[in-house]
């Protein structure tokens, strides 16, 4: 018979426990999962990069709705358990009572809030869950002031993130140096220097007396009466196991919920796991031991043996660009000796603490590559007398091997721990690779869990892959934009938004471009990202555009240009045709051709003639067709209900309306639309970036078609009844694409990455989001929707079309 398992708390520890429970026997328990947060299990550790904008929340979700459904888990998110009734074996929550046979408490811990005046003011928060991150991001206007209380791991990650968002940040730390529990003074000094260099103010020995403010927080007052202004105060001074439920239920509770080696509490039917527990008087604040506990929980629930034994943990700080590692005990003491290595120029500091010929502690700053090797020596307690002379230089020096990062990893013994969070050693990864035929980081992650938590070991895991596979290993597919940076397009887009970067020099400076002014690959991309994200603030950079978008015509192989005037919805007039015919004759245009987009192309025009030709075309009402841009090209239409005997709606009229709304906007790549008046689809709408097929009942909107190097039919976004709604959705779709896609990804490539459902949720389902997208598009159009030909016909950008000097007739005249 299946038993009822109720789990309280949908955090990292219970999430891992559930995975193990299901692995062993998915049918044994009927599982109900309560969580106070309105969402399932995510990688809480990675809230730091979400805060700084380096990752999105979606990227750190561990279990999504589909996972819970597939595993038959009943989820009760956003619903806190308020009471455990052990006599009747039920838990109580807002939704009533839920009976259990076995109960697992995984309530984690609560941030410790120092009891000073003003601690409850709005704007004073902790750093524990997504809500906190959202509050911080909302407060993080550039120039606004933040005070972070606490200079430990959490506080410093918060400070670095807020600084990246442009805030002025002060860190208040009670002790004499930062991260005093993990670092010695020298490493603390280097860390402080690195943070100060990025504009974070650090005050040590600073004790908070009160938080000031009337309606909301305005500042912090220290014991010595120093006052510091603050729009946001983040308390990160420590955590406390969340034991209230267990306490009220009369379970044995010390500082945490007391468990035995099998993770069972004082009630045999109740287990506990995670930061809320106390085991042998010890508490836990890092995930590595919690994952071990999770395994034991699953064993106990399946009646198998196995005891929890806490292991040594090591610490890394997840602040991009700051490398530090600490493990073991590094206090000075009698009988302890230090080996210290410093390289001030590189900002490297390493200290090993030795007692009785054994390594017992290691602190490293600036170069942490050998961290896992030292950690292994500490954990195994081997004697190191043999290699003492060269110990500090790491494994690659032992036995005189060459100093090569690969050699260092190759030299690691099988027991060396690679992933601290998940306790995965080198041997296990190598075995998974060779036995499972794994070739990529993602596969290793999926099979061994290595690098799936804090991610700092990713480089090491890749090196193990490289060492094991040799030449068969190809580095992962993260492709940087170009040789000027290591960042991908996605990273760059996110960081431009997250850090309010509004000019090209700002991007290159803040994101560490390796070249002085970029190259032909990154500059057009950056120019687009900046103008799409900041239409008001950013000034279009003319010299970062490809020639076609500077000359507003298409360059041909002989250096001449082609000119395509707009024909709205493919409709033209005798006057327009006459003006085109005249231009062809007047400027000796060698070829006049009908294009696939239902308009006329004048090919082989000399660059110098362009402004004059445009003046002539403008006079007849013809404007640029943007046949040369990453922007809206054409809206192809069929005849529609006015003339066609099959037409169901006015497809021509709708096409013209769409073209008039969308023309002149810049997009990641070209955008082509079409509107067909009936399912016979004469306008070929089903292979366009966005295509509308009219039917009796309304408009079917398809997106993501392609008919170039790739051939792909559109997928149905939605069907709507009114023309108005069809237009709004089309506009919102184009704006979503503008704001999110990688430069030079057509919509079909972009949709393949984000998923059609993601697009639908924003453009179709969420009406507020749709309206906001449309508003942002329309606003951008007030700045960018203008005929570039008219500007140039009136003398704009003259330097583009006229020579600097002309000596060509000199000789002829002589």
């Amino acid at each position: 018979m299946t038993e009822k398992l109720v789990v309280i708390g949908a955090g990292m520890a219970s999430g891992r426990a559930l995975e193990h429970i299901l692995e062993t026997d998915p049918a044994k328990y009927d599982i109900t999962l309560f969580g106070s947060e309105p969402r399932g299990n995510y990688n809480r550790i990675m809230l730091s990069p979400v805060l700084s904008g380096e990752k999105t929340f979606a990227e750190i979700v561990t279990h999504d709705t589909a996972w819970y459904e597939a595993n038959g888990i009943t989820t009760r998110f956003g619903e806190a358990v308020t009471q455990i009734d052990r006599d009747r074996k039920v838990v109580v929550s807002a939704g009533g009572e839920t009976p259990y046979d076995k109960l697992l408490i995984a309530t984690g811990s609560a941030p410790f809030i120092i009891p000073v005046q003003g601690k409850d003011l709005p704007g004073v928060i902790a750093f524990r869950d997504l809500e906190d991150v959202e509050t911080m991001r909302a407060a993080a206007k550039p120039g606004a002031k933040a005070v972070v209380i606490g200079g430990g791991l959490l506080g410093l990650e918060a400070a670095a993130g807020l600084r990246m968002l442009g805030m002025e940040v002060t860190v208040l730390h009670l002790m004499g140096h930062l991260m005093e529990r993990q670092l010695d003074e020298a490493a603390g000094y280097l860390l402080r220097k690195a943070l100060t260099d990025r504009g974070i103010k650090v005050m040590c020995r600073a004790s908070t007396a009160a938080i000031l403010g009337e309606e909301r927080v305005e500042g912090v007052m220290l014991e010595d009466n120093t006052g510091i202004e603050a729009d946001l105060v983040v308390m990160a001074v420590g955590i406390r196991p969340e034991t209230r439920l267990a306490n009220d239920a009369g379970l044995e509770v010390g500082r945490g919920i007391v468990v035995d080696d099998h993770m069972v509490t004082s009630d045999p039917d109740i287990l506990a796991v995670g930061e809320c527990v106390e085991h042998n008087k010890q508490l836990f604040g890092l995930v590595a031991p919690l994952y071990d506990q999770a395994k034991v929980v699953a064993n106990t629930l399946h009646g198998a043996g196995g005891a929890f034994m806490p292991k040594q943990t090591s610490t890394k700080l997840k602040v991009t660009g700051v490398d530090l590692f600490s493990a073991g005990d590094f206090a000075e003491g009698e009988g302890r000796e230090d080996i210290v290595f410093r390289d001030p120029a590189r900002g490297v500091y390493k200290r090993l603490v030795i007692e009785n010929d054994r390594l017992i502690g290691a602190v490293m700053y600036g170069d942490t590559a050998d961290g896992s090797w030292f950690f292994g020596l500490i954990r195994d307690g081997e004697t190191i007398s043999e290699m003492r002379d060269t110990l500090i230089f790491g494994p690659s020096y032992q036995g005189g091997a060459a100093l090569d990062p690969m050699a260092a990893v190759a030299a690691l013994p099988d027991e060396a721990e690679i992933c601290g969070c998940n306790g995965v050693c080198k041997g296990k990864i190598v075995q998974a690779i060779t036995e499972g035929g794994l070739t990529t980081l993602d596969e290793v992650k999926a099979v061994t869990k290595a690098s799936s938590s804090c991610g700092t070991c990713t480089g090491l895991v890749e090196q193990v892959l490289a060492v094991t596979l040799g030449d068969d290993f190809v580095l992962p597919t993260v492709k940087p934009v170009c040789a000027c940076t290591d960042l991908t397009h996605e990273d760059v887009r996110r960081l431009i938004k997250a850090q309010d970067l509004k000019s090209m020099p700002a991007v290159m400076q803040e994101l560490g471009w390796k070249t002085t002014c970029g190259c032909h690959v990154c500059r057009p991309a950056l120019n687009f990202y900046l103008l799409a994200d900041w239409p008001d603030d950013y000034k279009d950079d003319y010299q970062s555009r490809f020639i076609n978008e500077r000359a507003h015509a298409n360059i041909q192989k002989d250096g001449t240009f082609s000119v395509v005037p707009r024909m709205w919805g493919g409709v033209t007039t005798p006057a327009e045709l006459r003006a085109i015919a005249d231009a062809v004759e007047k400027y000796d245009v060698p070829l006049l051709k009908v294009t696939g987009g239902q308009r006329l192309d004048l090919l082989g025009v000399k660059k110098e003639d362009l402004p004059a030709m445009w003046a002539d075309l403008n006079a007849a009402g013809l404007v640029s067709g943007h046949a040369y841009t990453k922007g809206l090209r054409t809206v192809k239409t069929c005849v529609g209900s006015d003339f066609c005997r099959f037409g169901t709606q006015d497809s021509t009229g709708l096409g013209i309306k769409l073209e008039k709304r969308l023309w002149g906007s810049w997009t990641p790549h070209k955008v082509k639309l079409a509107v067909s008046g009936c399912p016979r689809n004469c306008a070929e709408a089903t292979c366009k970036d966005l295509g509308i097929v009219c039917v009796d009942s309304g408009y079917q909107i398809g997106v993501g078609g392609a008919a170039g190097m790739d051939l792909k039919a559109t997928e149905l976004l939605t069907t709507v009844a009114s023309e108005e709604e069809a237009i709004e959705i089309s506009v919102a779709f184009v704006q979503l694409y503008r704001e999110n896609a990688k430069y030079l990804d057509r919509p079909y490539k972009w949709i393949a990455k984000v998923g059609l459902d993601w697009v639908k949720a924003r453009v179709v389902d969420d009406l507020a989001e749709r309206a906001a997208l449309v508003a942002r598009f329309d606003h951008s159009q007030t700045i960018y929707q203008k005929d570039p030909w008219a500007e140039r016909a009136q003398g704009g950008s003259r330097h583009e079309f006229t020579p600097l000097a002309d000596f060509s007739f000199k000789e002829a005249a002589e």
Binding site: T516, C517, C519, H520, R523, Q543, P803, L804, D806, E811
Partner: protein
């Protein structure tokens, strides 16, 4: 054009006439030259023909001390006219000087 012949140097215009990270064309009896102004301000002159398939380099994107040809993205050194990276070929580079904000071009470049 009001170009003046001075010794063997021709005054072809003011530095300001060329946009930063941009180029202008100088016409000569035997084809065009491209005159570039890089971000740091230096001026360079090349034949306006890519060594690959003759693309007009004056239409390229200027970055560092290179220009990328608009036709097939060859990257050409402004200092030497040589194709960079794996590509091979060289276009002619011409001597230019800047004096009091005026650009002086080696007269030999226009065949004078």
């Amino acid at each position: 054009m009001n170009a003046v012949v001075s010794d063997t140097w021709l005054d072809i215009g003011s530095v300001e006439d060329i946009p930063v990270r941009g180029a202008r064309v100088v016409k000569t009896p035997h084809g065009c030259l491209a005159v570039f102004r890089v971000a740091e301000g230096e001026i360079y002159a090349l034949d306006d023909r890519c060594p690959h398939k003759g693309g007009p380099l004056s239409n390229g994107i200027v970055h560092g001390r290179s220009v990328t040809c608009p036709l097939h993205n060859w990257v050409i050194s402004l200092e030497t006219g040589a194709a960079q990276g794996a590509d091979e070929g060289r276009t002619r580079a011409h001597a230019v000087r800047v004096e009091d904000g005026r650009i002086l071009l080696d007269a030999a470049a226009v065949g004078a």
